[in-house]
């Protein structure tokens, strides 16, 4: 039998608290990846932990079962229902995102007490398109990101700030967007530093850990002017 000390060493990544965990339901294709990564960057910068289906790769579990488990471990969730186009290969629509949104809303409406306090943000690329594609949720607040990274950062930051509870005000969207641009500048060097090929894209869990380590360092680096003196803090 393993000692408690051994168990701690084998499980170094404890789950983040539910109140600070955000479930993400969105496309995972390469076209959407810049938006997903900007979303995750913003959540991390605001002190929240992004969770999504990319967190696990165990083919032995039923995917939807695992997704519902992650949803219940997060007090907040973001659903992007913008991918309404037909799949290029199959020529058919994808229903995974509306399914996961439905599971979330079901928990919120009729789940256990804790789940009824869930906070949900629904995103689409266009403002009122969901009236035609998902009219059952007409009347809910939906934000449109227009497939634009800066708008995505602002919507996520503003929504987290509105739901921050007794936490102090979160960093502004413009600061996070500037740090995100700075991160994109150094990302190729980070990938090289980790001895990956230049064309490699960081796998999702690795990306999250890199951003977590990069955020404080980027803040410090950008606070120092090229001459080495600290910049005065803006009002």
């Amino acid at each position: 039998m393993r000692s408690p000390r051994t168990l701690i060493r084998l499980r170094p990544f404890a789950k983040p608290p539910r109140a600070r965990s955000v479930f993400i339901n969105c496309p995972f294709d390469t076209d959407y990846q810049p938006l997903l990564r900007a979303m995750c960057f913003t959540m991390l910068a605001c002190g929240y932990a992004p969770r999504c289906a990319l967190d696990f790769s165990d083919s032995g579990v039923v995917r939807f079962q695992e997704i519902v488990r992650i949803i219940t471990e997060c007090d907040l969730s973001v659903h992007d229902i913008s991918r309404v186009e037909l799949d290029r290969r199959s020529g058919l629509p994808r229903f995974n995102m509306p399914l996961e949104l439905g599971a979330d809303l079901g928990l919120r409406l009729a789940g256990p007490a804790r789940q009824r306090a869930r906070k949900t943000l629904v995103l689409d690329a266009e403002k009122h398109r969901y009236d035609k594609t998902l009219s059952d949720i007409s009347g809910m607040d939906i934000e449109a990101h227009a497939n634009d990274v800066a708008k995505m950062i602002k919507h996520i930051r503003d929504w987290l700030n509105a739901n921050r509870g007794d936490q102090s005000i979160l960093p502004g969207a413009e600061s996070i967007a500037a740090d995100h641009a700075a991160y994109l500048t150094i990302a190729p060097n980070i990938i090289g530093g980790l001895r990956l090929d230049p064309h490699d894209v960081l796998p999702h869990p690795d990306f999250l850990h890199v951003v977590e380590q990069a955020l404080p360092q980027l803040e410090r680096a950008r606070a120092v002017s090229p001459s080495g003196r600290s910049r005065p803090s803006s009002p």
Binding site: P16, P171, P203, S225
Partner: protein, 59 residues
């Protein structure tokens, strides 16, 4: 003279918990990385050093 036991934290201190960004305390992550924290930290430090001037110019 009676020795007094110094108070000890109940859980080990995780250095990742101390990370802050613009006054926000960063959370831990659920999924493990293939890389160690030290490997990632060094890659980020080196990348920032290599791009110091570019980063300082970003407003």
């Amino acid at each position: 003279m009676t020795a007094t036991a110094s108070p000890r934290p109940r859980t080990p201190i995780d250095p990742r918990r101390r990370l802050t960004y613009r006054g926000v305390k960063l959370q831990g992550l659920a999924a493990p990385s293939r890389f160690t924290i030290d490997q990632i930290k060094k890659a980020v430090e080196d990348a920032i050093a290599e791009n110091a001037d570019t980063l300082a110019a970003i407003r």
